[in-house]
């Protein structure tokens, strides 16, 4: 039984934290787009979307990059404060990091700062250059992230192997076929084909193409492995009171959240076909009063299809064992029962490291603000489930977001 932790902010209260703007630039391979240039662009896009200028921001929160230590140091040591010209007035600039679930935890951190008055206007920034990094270097670097080196590196484990083990266990437990697993990737591609910022915007994908692609880590084919990409996105949060004063009429609030850190290394996970989703979901329902039937869209971490299918089941969107078949039936597609990862997710918009989860969150907020391009805007989108996971799927994090009218 999960605890019943209530948020100490009331909907519509002056201190109720809200999302008011998002920014994003195309994801893919952009070797000539510099790290700081990309961060500056998304910062200005998000501020414009929020009706703000850099001087309005008192707190910058950085989502980490994994491609290089020098760029990471630039983030940690406040370079973006100077780049945006708010040195001297900014109150604080710092990083939050939990791998793929960072954006969920950054949201919680910003939410707490705003609700308590430690911050007024928070700008969250993310940029990654995986698409332009050396692939072999990244594989070796990632083999040391989320893996206890002294115990497990000698096996030769790396990230596709982790995804492959979860996939194998999920297929065994659910009886899902290779075709059904591939259909999850196709669902995501169908959405990416509607997103001009997605790495595979112009490339349709079929189950047959996936199953004909080379075997990388049995049972994963190469088209079932996440494409490493360059990408950047940003979002702005403020208080409902500030948003009202600034004349905004709609925003996105946090109805509740839940999480579960189920392991550090995958070898210690009790059931790889379940992960931490059920407890995370129960906590989120308890805090919000929602159930899975209340959402209009779901944005669930998808570095591998089985991460999403375990999420669909743990959250209760699909019945136990039916996550992959739920996708095969087309329920997550454009026009389907519950639009799933409407930006194309990590598998088809591009895996931007820690930024993959941030892009899913940013798209959820964009949909709730009704600011997605018309071809993929979900009609009357009021509520979104955001699901994140980090490291070796060490945690399951759920944010429940809802569109809110600010009133006078």
């Amino acid at each position: 039984m999960a605890e019943n932790w209530q948020l100490h902010v009331s909907p519509g209260a002056d201190n109720d934290p809200v999302f008011v703007g998002v920014g994003e630039i195309p994801t893919g391979k952009f070797p000539d787009r510099s790290f700081i240039e990309a961060l500056t662009k998304v910062a200005l896009l998000a501020l414009k979307d929020a009706g703000m200028v850099p001087r309005d921001i008192d707190t910058i929160m950085l989502i980490p990059c994994l491609h290089g230590a020098a760029d990471q140091a630039d983030l940690v040591f406040s370079r973006m404060v100077e780049e945006l010209g708010i040195h001297g007035s900014a109150k604080s600039s710092y990083m939050v990091h939990s791998g793929g679930s960072t954006s969920d935890n950054a949201t919680r951190a910003a939410h707490g700062l705003i609700a308590t008055g430690h911050a007024q206007n928070v700008l969250v920034l993310q940029c990654e250059r995986w698409g332009s990094a050396d692939l072999n270097e990244m594989i070796t670097m990632l083999a040391k992230n989320g893996i206890p080196g002294e115990w497990e590196l000698p096996t030769g484990i790396q990230f596709n192997a982790i995804g492959a083990m979860i996939t194998r266990r999920y297929m065994h437990a659910s009886g899902s076929t290779a075709e059904e697993m591939a259909s999850v990737c196709v669902t995501l591609r169908n959405w990416a084909n509607l997103n001009e910022n997605a790495m595979f915007y112009h490339k349709p994908l079929t189950v047959e193409q996936i199953l004909a692609s080379r075997m990388v880590a049995d049972p994963l084919h190469s088209y079932e492995c996440p494409p490493m990409a360059d990408g950047a996105c940003a979002f702005v949060m403020t208080s409902t009171g500030n948003a009202r004063k600034r004349g905004l009429t709609t925003a996105v609030r946090v109805a509740g959240s839940g999480g579960c850190v189920s392991h550090y290394c995958l070898s210690q996970e009790a059931d790889q076909a379940v992960l931490g989703w059920p407890l995370a979901a129960e906590r989120a329902w308890n805090q919000s009063g929602w159930g899975p039937q209340d959402a209009d869209i779901a944005q669930i971490y998808d570095s591998y299809a089985a991460v999403t299918t375990t999420g669909l089941e743990g959250i209760g969107i699909a019945a136990k064992g039916e996550g992959a078949r739920w996708c095969a039936a087309g329920h997550g597609n454009p026009g389907g029962k519950l639009p799933l990862n409407t930006n194309g997710g990590l598998l088809s918009a591009g895996h931007t490291g820690v930024g993959g989860g941030t892009a899913l969150l940013v798209e959820g907020v964009r949909q709730l603000l009704h600011r997605a391009p018309s071809k993929r805007q979900v009609e009357n989108c009021q509520r979104a489930i955001i699901g994140g996971s980090g490291g070796s799927y060490m945690d399951a994090q759920i944010l429940l977001l809802e569109r809110t009218k600010l009133g006078a």
Binding site: N136, I139, T140, A143, P148, E150, W151, E152, L153, P154, T155, G156, I157, Q158, N160, A161, A164, M165, I166, T167, R168, R169, H172, A173, R214, M215, V216, A217, D218, P219, L220, C265, L266, S267, Q268, E269, Q272
Partner: protein, 134 residues
């Protein structure tokens, strides 16, 4: 940095053909991976038990490309998670059924620890398992 004793002792066990699991002398519980304090009772009074080396294969994969630096020569190779009968779990290498072929393996198969020679245990200090007969 000197290799911590819990790591070097575990690896010495592998080199002698033994799979060691950490054992708390105070609460009598097994721990894997070995810890610096017992995660059940926080005792630092920790020792070793030799595992019977029998368990169930929770999941596995066969890596065919994209090995981390230094592991390229091993490709293809299979990695799995074994739930030992003693109640702890660990990541292992799986012995092929036939050269470069792991197609006989299924999730939930019974698997057994395989002792390797000291040179191999030094080259790859991790436990190796194979499908149990029968």
């Amino acid at each position: 940095m000197k290799t911590p004793a819990i790591v070097s002792e575990f690896r010495e066990g592998l080199a002698q053909g033994k799979l060691l699991i950490q054992h708390c002398q105070d609460c009598d519980k097994p721990n894997m991976w070995p810890r610096y304090a017992c995660p059940h009772c926080q005792s630092e009074n920790l020792g070793w038990l030799q595992s019977k080396g029998e368990g169930v294969l929770h999941s596995f994969c066969v890596l065919r490309q994209g090995a981390p630096a230094g592991y390229e020569e091993d490709l293809p190779y299979a990695i799995g998670v074994v739930k030992l009968d003693e109640g702890v779990q660990l990541l292992v290498r799986l012995e092929a059924n036939r050269p470069d072929d792991w197609s006989d393996y299924l999730c939930d198969d019974r698997v057994s620890f395989v002792a390797v020679d000291a040179a191999e245990a030094e080259r790859r200090p991790c436990a190796q398992f194979r499908r149990s007969p029968g």
